[in-house]
Symmetry: C2
Subunit: 482 residues, 2 copies
């Protein structure tokens, strides 16, 4: 716009404003209202400024005059403009400071990269997604009205029944569906049960080294973490009793200890249950990747032998994929009401459709077929990583290739210098958690927690080779430097 | 089986057991293992009992002998059996007590009945469900691998962008999608933000009367509730300042106060924001049913005029239906990182598919079309209830039919005896919350919070008539009894 034109119109300040009507808003007066409201709230129209006459603005904007009148009335009821008797409409004198849409400042949202050896990533068959898509479509399209309102805080009975069957057949856990709650994953289930069952400051035994995410969750609940060392049989119950015999709970990963991969022995399981009975404590059993076992039958879950003290946490995040956000908690019958009560103040109940869609797939055997298909692939992935590390990393990496689960642990020799693991990881360009991240007070050689479930075997083998080479380089440079 | 046959086989104790192989389990040895494990853990096979030879059991069960050998080995590694040299396999002497699957005891899961005037129920068009079903199928079937793993804790960017558009156009709230978190509903969002932003014992202003579910949520977080009365302009800010000037937050329902239906005046909004700035406090703005406005343009949200102090809580539970479990929180840019951090220890991130399916429908205008279709139906429902109450309940019920939202409030006259509301509700056979349920310390006549969004107009009119009649009967009986 040439300067002269602006000057000649100086009195009509509003006209120089970029008033843009949003045609997506229904109704002309609503469009005008929204545009003027934004202009006032943003400070483009200053407090005390006189607005044009309704007729004048209607002409400028090419809308009906009635729309302007209605918009002005709406601004009036917003308190954003004020009439002055016989003198038109003015932007209200007392207004809050202008606001602009600002992005979140310096926010580092950590979405794990999808490079080997990231954890929590799985391979998903397109045919499985197709089945899930079809089941979901069916469930949504055919939803009865009473499936759309507030639901059972425990989640779909259909899915809970399928989970009960699965647990009885595969984990030795016999529970009634009324004792199962569908949650969005392990951390959600853990948080829910801690909120329901523990008081702030209650002591909880925690495996050292242990699962970082659960440690974080426990930390935010105000629980007092009691680190308890892990040996070749799992958590050392006697050490826990020495540290805090009267703890209120223990968090354990008995079937495949995170990150060491140790399976808790039956003797240790019985000792842990005995302690829980004596101490009147709860055991949180995180059975996070028990679905994938490569040798021998799965071990019976703790909840299968001590159901009255054990809260069992399972997830479909490993069986299928994390983005599904479906897991489950099995709660001793006497505690269900308390956990359900806590849920009312958290997320109330899980979304309805995907639960039933998943249950349909379980009932049709699609999920167990998927697990059968994936098991040899994951075993192959484990073997590829283990072989590459053994071949290229002899003398520098000690392996504990597990008979179950989706990650393995490679540890550095005892003499490795401090910080070497981080250096090796960075040099190899791989994505992985370090053993030291999982440690609390226990010390020892550092190592690499290598997830192998989400990547092609060849990529895993290459990444393992890089890791082994980097380990050799870093460690030999360190020993030369001595 | 005839008694003699049983007697003649007495030594083979196992044979008398109902060993049922679960054909759903893959592999004969796994089937045998699961069956025997259950029998041992359940106490059917007592500690110290000798198990049959593998050959003998194989014959009895009609499975390969190798399967029995493998099953026995698995039980051995479970620690459930023990070998005695040269003497076969015995149930381990030291075993936990038997467990049986028990249902949750005396659990009263409260799923609101779907009778008028239940709150939280909406009408849903089958055609909308069909569109949602199709979008969901498409989203799942076409999901890229990186949409299946751990996602952004804020939820889908697609949906957050659509929500930002919606809020700018309809609520005067201008925010960047980076400041929006997708949650499962208002209580979830509230809980998340309180966990992130407040410390236990922090004081929070709460409308009196106010929204019961949020009061419960706040209560479980350890916040100290400061009841602040509500008048015809909304929360009485000066009363809040007298009660606790240094409170850390206020929870308010400005666009349609729950349950009174009052819209907070602009003067009160500005006073509230001013207090929040002076006190360095947060405002939780629950904008729970702002989508349905029957007269005049919607009022600008508090978050539209004081974004740096306001946490805005919105839900699709009223726009669409509660079972969808989708809502959103708009957080001031400076606080996003803290709220995201808190989510890591709660439910981590929302399920991926339904978010994008819903966003597709928003982008296609399907949701706004649904809202346009529903608005006259809900207005009709509101009118039907108001008219029936006015016609049949003159002198006993005072109405506040709102220009927005999905419920109205009918109050009893000041002289009504204590307990009358409950009696009237029971006699009328309707499902509704009482005003007294929503009160904290404020006193006054009781009343009925009447949801009208989930039912046919005729049913609502009938229920309203019953309520009015019951009110007349109960109140006139009470006045005769005086």
């Amino acid at each position: 716009m040439p300067k002269s034109a602006t000057t000649s119109r100086r009195r009509n300040v509003v006209l120089a404003l970029p008033i843009r009507l949003d045609r997506a808003i229904r109704g002309q007066s609503q469009q005008v209202h929204a545009a003027l409201r934004s202009a006032i709230v943003d400070g483009l129209l200053a407090p005390g400024l006189r607005l044009p006459s309704s007729r004048g603005l209607a002409e400028q904007l090419g809308v009906r005059r009635n729309a302007i009148v209605a918009a002005y009335e709406a601004l009036l009821s917003d308190g954003l403009v004020e009439p002055r008797h016989g003198a038109g409409t003015y932007v209200a004198a007392e207004l809050p400071a202008p606001q602009a849409a600002a992005p979140a400042a310096d926010l580092d949202i950590r979405i794990p990269a999808r490079r080997p050896f990231a954890l929590g990533v799985t391979l998903v068959d397109p045919s499985l997604l197709k089945r899930l898509a079809a089941a979901s479509r069916r469930r949504i399209a055919q939803a009865a009205p009473d499936e759309l309102g507030y639901g059972d805080p425990r989640g779909s009975l259909h899915l809970r029944t399928q989970v009960a069957h699965y647990l009885a057949a595969n984990r030795g856990v016999r529970c009634d569906p009324s004792c199962i709650l569908i949650v969005s994953g392990t951390q959600h289930g853990l948080r829910l049960c801690i909120d329901a069952l523990l008081a702030p400051g209650d002591a909880v035994w925690f495996e050292d080294p242990g699962y970082v995410a659960s440690r974080h969750t426990l930390g935010t609940t105000g629980a007092k973490l009691v680190p308890v060392p892990v040996d070749g049989e799992g958590i050392v119950v006697s050490a826990g009793e020495s540290a805090d015999r009267k703890a209120r709970a223990a968090y354990v990963t008995p079937s495949h200890q995170f990150p060491t991969g140790v399976a808790m022995s039956m003797a240790r399981r019985i000792a842990l249950l005995d302690w829980a009975r004596r101490a009147d404590a709860y055991i949180f059993e995180d059975d996070y990747d028990s679905e994938y076992r490569f040798a021998g039958p799965p071990l019976t879950a703790l909840a299968g032998i001590g159901a009255e003290r054990v809260i069992y946490l399972g997830t479909f995040g490993k069986t299928l994929f994390a983005g599904l956000r479906l897991g489950y908690v099995v709660v001793p019958p006497a505690l269900v009401a308390r956990v359900v009560g806590a849920r009312a103040a958290q997320d109330r109940f899980p979304p309805v459709f995907m639960q039933d869609a998943l249950a349909d797939l379980m009932a049709d055997g699609v999920i167990s077929a998927h697990m059968r298909r994936m098991r040899p692939r994951y075993r192959q992935a484990r073997d590829a990583v283990a072989e590459a590390l053994a071949r290229h990393g002899r003398d520098v990496l000690q392996l504990a290739a597990p008979s179950q689960g989706l990650h393995l642990l490679a540890t550095l020799p005892p003499g490795a210098p401090k910080g070497a693991a981080r250096l090796i990881r960075d040099r190899a360009g791989v994505e992985c958690r370090l053993l030291s991240d999982a440690r609390i007070v226990q010390r020892g050689p550092d190592g690499f927690i290598l997830g192998y479930s989400g990547f092609a075997t060849r990529d895993l083998a290459n990444a393992a080779r890089e890791l082994a080479r980097a380990a050799k380089e870093v460690l030999s440079a360190a020993s030369r430097g001595r």
